[in-house]
Amino acid sequence: MTIEEIQNEIIDEFSMFEDWEERYQYMIDLGKDLPLIEEQYKTDSNIIKGCQSKVWVHAEMQDDKIEFTADSDAIITKGIIAILIRVFSNQHPKDIIDANMDFIDQIGLKEHLSPTRANGLVSMIKQLKMYAIAYQTQLK
């Protein structure tokens, strides 16, 4: 599936919910399916800066595609990073770099995009795209 197809799938899933509570509950559940980062990669250098909770991300290249794993010590943050990884994992670096992230707004998580938001959704997206840029450079 392309990034856009996955995003549309997530938008569909979230459109079933009536209120914030159901959306958050679903996000928390998505966090439980997050491809967990191996303990050895849970290092300080893999922590995403700008988050009030800790978020670790690890990226590996498999046949021209990036595979992400992650973890967080906060449950809601874990749900957020799980959504991002579902969108970005197993994709070509260039597609990740070019990805439009407007779907965040459409699934009712716009408030997490505000610069004052301490969870750092913006930092997470930026960090995942940084990995993509780094791998893209290697491919050239």
């Binding site: 509570e21 958050y24 909770s53 906060a74 809601i76 301490a118």
Partner: protein
């Protein structure tokens, strides 16, 4: 007679909604809300007599200067300083601390010691670390116990003839503990050390008397006591303020300038370079008028009721831990649901219209002491109600249900 419903009418913001729910504002330790009486003063300033002060010969400038200096006198009276010129207008508590730390750069030498407490805000740690780096002085720390109280016997042992400065907050922002500053000041003076008390968290709740305390420096922020942001005050004993060199150079702070030599203005202007926050100073005075019209004894008594009620109600929730359990504390409750990140709890509460603070509250050493990433902090002001506390308790229960 204190009636919270009447008081709430003074605060326009308290009737707004957040995320579709009535706002419950429990982040008062970060900043307090502003009553209409203070908002009116700000509007009046910009509508009727906005002008630069101290220099202009025109009437508007004169009027603004009078109001600004009158505000300084209100602050002097509030804190019971001996002279109005012992009150320096600052941009806030952090500015006041940095002003003093910078001033001591030229007075300290290698081997001198500075004592701070384990309960400090980063703003009362970092400037002293920087001062130590500049001067070669060493930083010593008064440790704390499990209840979040300073271990005062250890403080007494840290004091020596090398101690030049002691910096302690009156009340801890992260835990609400009221520190025994009377004892600390008295003991420090036995060794000739100067004492700076950070009053950012105390001034919204109690009325300090700087002469009775015999404190050398006391700093506060207007925005935590119903005033505007970007405004604060530094009290310093006249003798100390004369001894310290100016902090910043510029207009207002000079007596005479030639390219060879500048002589500095008298107190307080020596420390007030540039055009100050004129409106902020005047509004600070109005905020003190407002709080004094209610009365600090009344405020403290009511807030204590809120604290006791909230403590009792929150402790009824299983697997909830309160950090900072001193008998001497103000209306701040720092807590966690066991095994749940404070950020998660804060996010759910926000969706319910309840504003709390989460994180380390700029006091990482305290969080390290308890081995936690941070806490949820609910801090109450005199315009909060028991019904709002009920909403908080219900919100925490909901968060627990969703996150467990």
């Amino acid at each position: 007679m204190f009636n919270v419903d009447d008081i709430r009418k003074d605060f326009p913001i308290l009737s707004r909604k957040v995320n579709g729910k009535p706002l419950v504002y429990f982040d008062n330790a970060a900043t307090s809300q502003t009553p209409q009486q203070v908002i009116d003063v700000i509007v009046d300033y910009y509508s009727n007599y906005n002008a630069n002060i101290h220099r202009g010969v025109h009437s508007l400038s004169q009027e603004a200067t009078d109001k600004y200096e009158h505000a300084r006198q209100k602050i002097q009276k509030h804190f019971n300083a001996k002279h109005a010129h012992e009150i320096i207008f600052t941009s806030g508590t952090t500015h006041g601390i940095n002003l003093v730390a910078n001033g001591f750069s030229s007075l300290l030498k290698k081997g001198d010691e500075i004592i701070v407490s384990a309960l400090e805000h980063h703003s009362n740690i970092v400037p002293w670390q920087m001062l130590c780096e500049r001067t070669g002085a060493t930083l010593k720390v008064i440790p704390m116990n499990q209840d979040g109280e300073l271990i005062i016997s250890d403080f007494d042992n840290l004091l020596s003839d090398n101690t030049k400065l002691v910096f302690v907050n009156h009340i801890s922002n992260a835990l609400g503990t009221i520190n025994p500053i009377e004892h600390i000041i008295k003991q420090a003076h036995l060794y000739g050390a100067a004492v700076l008390i950070d009053g950012a968290q105390s001034c919204p709740h109690i009325k300090p008397d700087v002469q009775a305390l015999d404190v050398d420096f006391y700093v506060a922020s207007a925005h935590k006591m119903c005033g505007p942001t970007g405004q604060g005050m530094l009290y310093g004993k006249e003798s100390w303020l004369k001894k310290l060199p100016p902090y910043q150079g510029g207009g207002e702070m000079i007596a005479e300038v030639t390219f060879e030599k500048t002589t500095y203005a008298d107190l307080p202007h020596k420390f007030e370079a540039g055009t100050p926050n004129i409106c902020g100073g005047i509004a600070f005075g109005a905020a003190l008028d407002y709080m004094n019209s209610i009365g600090f004894d009344t405020i403290a008594q009511y807030e204590n009721e809120l604290l006791e009620y909230a403590t009792q109600e929150l402790l009824n929730i299983d697997e909830l831990t309160i950090y900072g359990t001193s008998q001497q504390k103000t209306s701040v409750i720092s807590f966690n649901l066991d095994g749940i990140h404070p950020y998660d709890v804060g996010t759910i509460l926000d969706k319910l219209g309840i504003a709390v603070r989460t994180g380390h509250h700029c006091a990482q050493p305290i969080m390290d002491f308890y081995c936690i990433p941070g806490t949820v902090r609910a801090s109450f002001a005199f315009y909060n109600t028991k019904a709002e506390i009920d909403a908080l308790v219900a919100g925490v229960k909901k968060a627990k249900m969703m996150l467990a």
